[in-house]
């Protein structure tokens, strides 16, 4: 009941925004801000680029909003725009590799500092490998891991069949798994 009311509110907001109501669009941006920012951050791997991409995504969404059909999923539509905006921002970056991710690590609940350090290294390596993944695989991985979309939803967002979603996800995770295995071997060699 509550969900359907929310959906009705969202449709009303979309219709108002389609007519040019900026306040209504602002409310929609507030609803999907975290989702879009999460996607662009993990796609770009850089805070400043992610900010640009988020702004560009919402700007594009506003421009294309009159052609959006209110019956379709706004979240999926925004996810697609966010992915494309992030990829475009990354492509536009010309050789500016100096801007690194200025991330704030979450407080580590692990009582073992050594294990925490290893884990931190693993996470950093995974992120590096993630950045080197092909755009297609990275998009699928980000949508699955950070937006929690189902395979069907990912297929709808990226306009690809579910089989392709599975293939790209397998590829991305196997690359990351391979990296973890390599690191494990290296650590074992160091300790030996």
């Amino acid at each position: 009941m509550r969900e359907s009311r929310n959906a009705e509110t969202e449709i009303a907001l979309i219709e108002r925004a389609q007519k040019g109501d900026r306040d209504a669009y602002g409310d929609l941006v507030r609803c999907y801000y975290t989702c879009v920012v999460s996607i662009v951050q993990h796609m770009c791997g850089d805070t400043h680029l992610a900010e640009d991409a988020a702004q560009e995504a919402f700007l594009r969404a506003w421009i294309k909003l009159p052609s959006f059909h209110p019956d379709s999923s706004l979240r999926n539509w925004l996810c697609r725009i966010a992915i494309n905006a992030a990829l475009d921002v990354l492509r536009r970056r010309t050789g500016n590799t100096s801007s690194k991710m200025e991330m704030q690590c979450l407080p580590d609940p692990s009582p073992n500092p050594e294990a925490a350090l290893i884990e931190k290294e693993q996470v950093a390596s995974l992120q590096l490998v993630m950045k080197s993944l092909p755009e297609a695989s990275r998009s699928v991985l980000v949508l699955r891991e950070y937006s929690g979309l189902s395979y069907e939803e990912i297929g709808a967002v990226l306009e690809i069949p579910i089989g392709t979603v599975m293939f790209r996800l397998n590829y991305a995770r196997n690359r990351l798994r391979g990296l973890l295995a390599e690191q494990k071997v290296q650590q074992e060699q160091e300790y030996a």
């Binding site: 909003l65 704030q104 995974l126 395979y151 973890l180």
Partner: protein, 226 residues
């Protein structure tokens, strides 16, 4: 069985397997150590990805405020569509004209052949501009009481008549359809004109809004100061 189910490990991890395949996977995992290890590693990858550091993101209110300032008017995309459409419209228009002329020539030939065969009677002569003595010449002759019926006048009138009907049959059709085409273009332009006008206005509006907002802030500051 291992080869068949191995590609579905990720789907199993993500809870995307259902029905018979899910049962098969669970049975297989109970007995296959390789798949168990791989599943454990994939789960670990997923956990580590969830632990990825999160950058400090701008506050949503600040983001929305900034975004609102730069939002253009809707229909901005039409500004790009206009010239794009023109690129298509010009060659398509020329192609259409070419087809039109070809069809016109074919129709004239058909009319001519039909007229020669005597199927159209007087209408064929009129369409081809070769009416020997049309009614209006006879009318003038009658009004002038037969004075205009001298050979020179009749010749002149016949020449004028031939010229006018020739003009009509050779040009009027083309001009008529050309006018229909131009009319269609004009209607298309007038329908889209408001969108083009809006698209050029969007550059000015945010600036106006910005100035208005800034002046509002200044007024509030002054009020607070007082």
């Amino acid at each position: 069985m291992h080869e068949m189910l191995h590609p579905f490990l990720n789907s199993y991890l993500d809870g995307e397997l259902h029905g018979t395949r899910l049962q098969q996977m669970e049975l297989h995992l109970a007995s296959c150590e390789t798949c168990q290890t791989e599943l454990k590693e994939l789960r670990r990858v997923s956990e580590l990805l969830q632990k990825a550091p999160v950058a400090e993101i701008p506050r949503v209110d600040r983001f929305v405020a900034n975004l609102t300032l730069i939002l253009p008017q809707h229909r901005m995309s039409d500004q790009k569509e206009g010239p794009k459409l023109l690129w298509w419209l010009v060659p398509m228009g020329l192609l259409f004209d070419w087809f039109f002329v070809r069809i016109l020539i074919l129709v004239r030939d058909a009319v001519s052949i039909t007229g020669t065969a005597g199927l159209l009677g007087q209408a064929a002569a009129w369409l081809n501009g070769s009416t020997p003595q049309p009614l209006w010449i006879a009318g003038i002759n009658w009004i002038s009481g037969g004075q205009a019926a001298s050979g020179a006048t009749i010749n002149l009138l016949t020449t004028v008549n031939g010229f006018v009907t020739g003009l009509f049959s050779g040009f009027l059709w083309q001009a008529g359809i050309g006018l229909v085409y131009l009319g269609w273009l004009a209607i298309w332009w007038f329908k889209r004109r408001p969108q083009f006008m809006n698209s050029t206005m969007h550059r000015v509006r945010p600036l106006k809004e910005f100035i208005r907002q800034e002046s509002r802030v200044e007024i509030e500051k002054e009020k607070n100061h007082d």
